[in-house]
Assembly symmetry: none
Homo-oligomer: 209 residues x 2
DNA sequence: AACGCTATACTTAGGCC
DNA sequence: CGGCCTAAGTATAGCGT
């Protein structure tokens, strides 16, 4: 089959995409390596595959100067291809996934192909997403606090009302007690019960019968 | 002159080297961009020229996150492809700040100079921070929900008690009006209360005596 | 330095292991 | 996945502006 000119857009076929990724990934690394060698430039290249694997190349001095902290377990080998190290590292899986998710999120948010957006637009999009998330969290917290505050108000109002009623009941009972002397115990005691109710009282009641 | 095959080694001639750098640098960026577009991979490419100028391309802000620590005089130049443009645009600042904050956070968490940590350690740290953040949020939400639930319970309990007291007060008021016809109601009625407890029982009990 | 040009070297899509 | 193969598509060395 004759080779076709391909247009730069996401390859639909998964297998083809993976193959192309593998090939081009190495191509880019090689180019980076050549640029480093030819022009004495410092290069760092990091690539996350769609499946979350990490590959990277970097000129050694780059590592030292700029990202010391990301020294990978480097296995240098001989010239040809080897020094353009590509390797996967499991600890990167998490970040890769994050990236994937974020990318997907962005894509969904924009509802259009991000490939067509430039860096600036992507930045704005990302900011939007982040801002949106923050707003969600803040709003959620606000709602929580509002509900709690409202409930507390209700509570104190009820307690107040409750206390009033108790007092009233107490008063009525007292006046009743002084009337015929039947009620010696203080009904308000029941309410003093921390629980506000007590089934043992019922037992007392039942036992009486 | 016919193009010669060049061997990959440092170009001696300064001018030629610079020209080659300029050309190949763009070539690598383009390749990276294509890899990103074609294969849905995340790419970060950082290039320092021999003269110290910085160029970079990245498919997402992750790169900024990862390479946050190296601040270099950024070089801005216009290229045919704006998307693989290295630019110091304003929205970049936002991300920078975010990254700074995160970096600071990480530093504070670790309590030591991050520069001395390798990528793996950094990843773990970041994961820790993220995990910690998640835990904080989750815990906070839990607490909120618990408090709300508790308040609602209290509320219903209070309302119940309140209603009971009202009923009681009403009842007492009524019986007071009828003189001493207080004990006409059937005490067992109290037990029919679906709740299984009712302070009104106490009244019944007390009334019996 | 940047841009254009062109012939050629290099990369790689598409197949097949 | 990674290698190998071939032809087609690209990148770019070398030179001029």
């Amino acid at each position: 089959m004759v080779r076709q000119k391909i247009q730069i857009k996401k390859i639909d076929n998964l297998t083809a995409r993976q193959v192309t990724f593998s090939k081009r990934r190495r191509g880019v690394c090689k180019k980076a390596q050549e640029l480093f060698t030819l022009c004495d430039a410092e290069i760092a290249l990091i690539v996350f595959s769609a499946t979350g694997k990490l590959f990277h190349y970097s000129s050694s001095s780059m590592m030292e100067l700029i990202e010391r902290h990301r020294r990978q377990p480097e296995n240098s080998s001989k010239l040809g291809q080897p020094s353009l190290q590509l390797q996967e590292n499991n600890s990167y899986g998490v970040l890769s996934k994050m990236l994937e998710d974020k990318s997907r999120e962005l894509r969904q948010l924009s509802g259009e192909e991000l490939q067509e957006l430039d860096m600036d637009e992507l930045m704005k999009l990302e900011k939007m997403v982040q801002g949106g998330l923050n707003r969600v969290v803040e709003t959620k917290n606000e709602i929580f606090l509002k509900e709690i505050s409202s409930l507390k108000k209700k509570e104190s109002k009820l307690m107040e009302e409750n206390a009033m009623l108790k007092q009233q009941a107490d008063f009525m009972q007292k006046s009743e007690g002084t009337g015929n002397g039947i009620h010696q115990s203080n009904p308000s005691e029941c309410i003093r019960n921390s629980r506000g109710y007590d089934t043992s009282l019922r037992l007392g009641y039942l036992n009486v019968h």
